[in-house]
């Protein structure tokens, strides 16, 4: 969080320090959570169960039909699992970045600014909720089941694509969380808008793109690039064509899109913080 014109070296140094600081704040919260093991176990189970509901709804749908938008249950489960794990990772690591509005309102944003640690690190690590592993575990189980049932030919390249998809997806969702937080520097009460993109986004990506209108698919490909979280790479792994007929190379573009998102998010976050520091409200 160097102010003024950033130098590349300084930015890198800040980033490393930011990640380290994030790490030790998180470690503190994990230790504190583990002091109440029974309560933690219960919350983990609750998180697992709540996030599983979406898949329960999908299973009920498939108790009535054989295919949805031309996709079978294991195929939908594959989309569901990848979306869920990517979103779960970002929710675990950056989910609390949405508390910007609340912190501005109660004045504790100022407290964060008086400490020698990047504000974003402090914000994202604060009240780190390990129970959010529940969603990741649940999504991984569904994903594992889908992979077993689908009988795809897992070459090393395809395995690499699967992992890069989930990690890039987590980065893209993470950017949405941070952008949502940054947006609240300007509109403090609007925290719920980002739910449309985070929770809404992960719900959308649990279903095949063929289910949705082309305009909507185009929107989440080019405007909010959620299609790169799983749709485009997953369709390739499933051997399906994407409904927009995009060039095949885009199926591998998720890491690049994720990097671009991170750059844009970094700039918007800085602008938000700068706006806060000049208005103080």
């Amino acid at each position: 969080m160097a102010d003024g014109t950033p130098r590349p070296r300084a930015v890198l140094g800040d980033a490393v320090w930011g990640v380290r600081a994030y790490g030790f704040i998180v470690a503190m919260w994990v230790r504190s959570t583990m002091a109440y093991r029974a309560s933690f176990a219960m919350m983990l189970a609750a998180n697992f169960a709540t996030t599983f509901l979406d898949f329960a709804a999908i299973m009920i749908m498939f108790s009535q039909v054989d295919a949805l938008g031309g996709f079978t249950l294991p195929e939908v489960a594959f989309l569901y699992g990848t979306s869920c794990v990517a979103f779960g990772l970002s929710d675990l690591l950056l989910g609390t970045a949405e508390r910007v509005g609340r912190r501005v309102r109660d004045g504790t944003m100022d407290v964060l600014l008086t400490r020698p640690v990047p504000v974003l690190s402090q914000l994202a690590a604060d009240r780190f909720a390990l129970r959010r592993l529940g969603r990741i575990i649940q999504g991984s189980l569904v994903l594992g089941w889908a992979v077993l049932r689908l009988d795809l030919d897992w070459t090393p390249g395809r395995v690499a694509l699967l992992f890069s998809m989930v990690l890039s997806g987590a980065a893209i969702f993470g950017c949405v969380f941070v952008l949502g937080g940054a947006f609240q520097f300007w509109a403090q009460d609007a925290s719920e808008v980002q739910n449309a993109f985070t929770y809404g986004g992960t719900t959308l990506l649990q279903y095949p793109p063929t289910v949705f209108g082309k305009e909507l698919v185009r929107g989440v490909t080019f405007v909010v690039p959620l299609a790169f979280v799983n749709w485009l790479p997953a369709l390739r792994l499933l051997g399906r064509d994407d409904p927009l007929g995009l060039p095949g190379g885009l199926d591998f573009a998720s890491p690049a899109v994720a990097l671009l998102c991170c750059a844009v998010t970094g700039l918007v976050w800085r602008a938000g913080l700068r706006a806060y520091r000049s208005t103080g409200s």
Binding site: D3, T114, G280
Partner: protein, 321 residues
């Protein structure tokens, strides 16, 4: 690094202007400029302990926020320990400690000990140094039994002592205290004050203190800086403060429409404008009558009111108590 010679905190013509958008109709909003801090200058030497007072909304917190690098000034210059707080916030915060009386800087759900552990790592305090500082604070502020209690279970007085400790673990050169005794019982107040005196005497920590409780100032500070309506109205010895009571009065002028700041009225100057309303300050000793007649002749007046210096209340309370 030039914080050894000259002033340790150096504030010159510091200004902070906020744009406030107010609803004036169903859909219309008008933007008005509010001068929260309006060209104040003062300086602190290393090791001074100074009271920073003024009525509510005078601009105290805004000034503190600029001094700590939280807010960027609109205009003027500002150096703390040789650093520009706004430009080099992260470098500066290692050298300052901040205590906000009304909100804690500690982690609500963690025991004090864990909060301090986090502070140690955030400020990269060498362990020996940390242990030494913590031991001193724990002894002087009598925190021994409280270290393993989560912050949310502490009383206000205990929490305040915990907060002061957290602000001092990294050996700051400057300590900003914003209402440190607000809501505290008599015993806690006395304990906090004793501690601050000792801190200032033994370590030479520079302290800037805002408070509503003027007995804080009497116990702790020889010098006070007083602001009102964003302007400096007094800077000097506590004993000379009563003279401020004879400072300036303010004429609040409502014009027919928004106009540039009023000029050319002898003995008065415009200190604030907000839409068609303007504030004119003039010496309390002067009569308002000639001023008003001159104004009425030169400007389209709608309404007038006279305001005695708000700071008088503060001082009145001080000498009554």
């Amino acid at each position: 690094m030039s914080d050894g010679d000259g002033e340790f905190i150096d504030v010159r013509e510091l200004t902070k202007t906020f744009t406030v958008r107010r609803k004036t109709g169903l859909l219309r909003r008008t933007a008005t400029q509010v001068h929260a801090v309006d060209g104040i200058s003062f300086a602190l030497r290393r090791g001074e302990m100074v009271g920073f007072i003024g009525p509510n909304g005078a601009g105290k917190s805004t000034t503190i926020k600029m001094l700590t690098g939280i807010l960027t000034p609109t205009d003027g210059s500002l150096r703390v320990a040789g650093v520009d707080p706004w430009q080099e916030r992260t470098r500066l915060v290692r050298r300052i400690g901040v205590v906000f009386g009304q909100r804690t800087t500690l982690w609500w759900d963690l025991p004090l000990r864990d909060s301090y552990g986090l502070v140690r790592r955030m400020y990269r305090i060498p362990r020996a140094r940390f242990e030494e500082n913590l031991a001193r604070c724990v002894e002087l502020l009598e925190l021994g039994d409280l270290l393993d209690v989560p912050v949310r279970q502490l009383s206000l007085g205990q929490r305040m002592r915990g907060d002061i400790t957290a602000a001092l673990l990294h050996d700051p050169d400057v300590l900003y205290l914003d209402e440190p005794t607000i809501g505290l019982d008599v015993v806690s107040k006395a304990r906090v004050r004793r501690f601050l005196v000792a801190l200032n005497a033994e370590l030479g920590t520079t302290v800037l203190l805002t408070t509503h409780d003027l007995s804080d100032i009497e116990h702790l500070c020889k010098r006070v800086v007083v602001i009102d309506h964003g302007r400096l109205v007094y800077d000097g010895l506590l004993s000379g403060l009563h003279e401020v009571g004879r400072g300036e009065r303010t004429l609040v002028v409502d014009l027919e429409r928004e106009l540039p700041p009023i000029e050319g009225i002898p003995g008065a100057r415009t200190v604030r404008t907000e839409g068609p309303r303007q504030w004119l300050a003039f010496p309390a000793s002067a009569s308002a009558a000639p001023l008003v007649s001159q104004l009425a002749a030169d400007y389209p007046l709608v309404d007038l009111s006279l305001r005695e210096p708000a700071i008088e209340d503060v001082i009145a309370r001080m000498y009554a108590g």
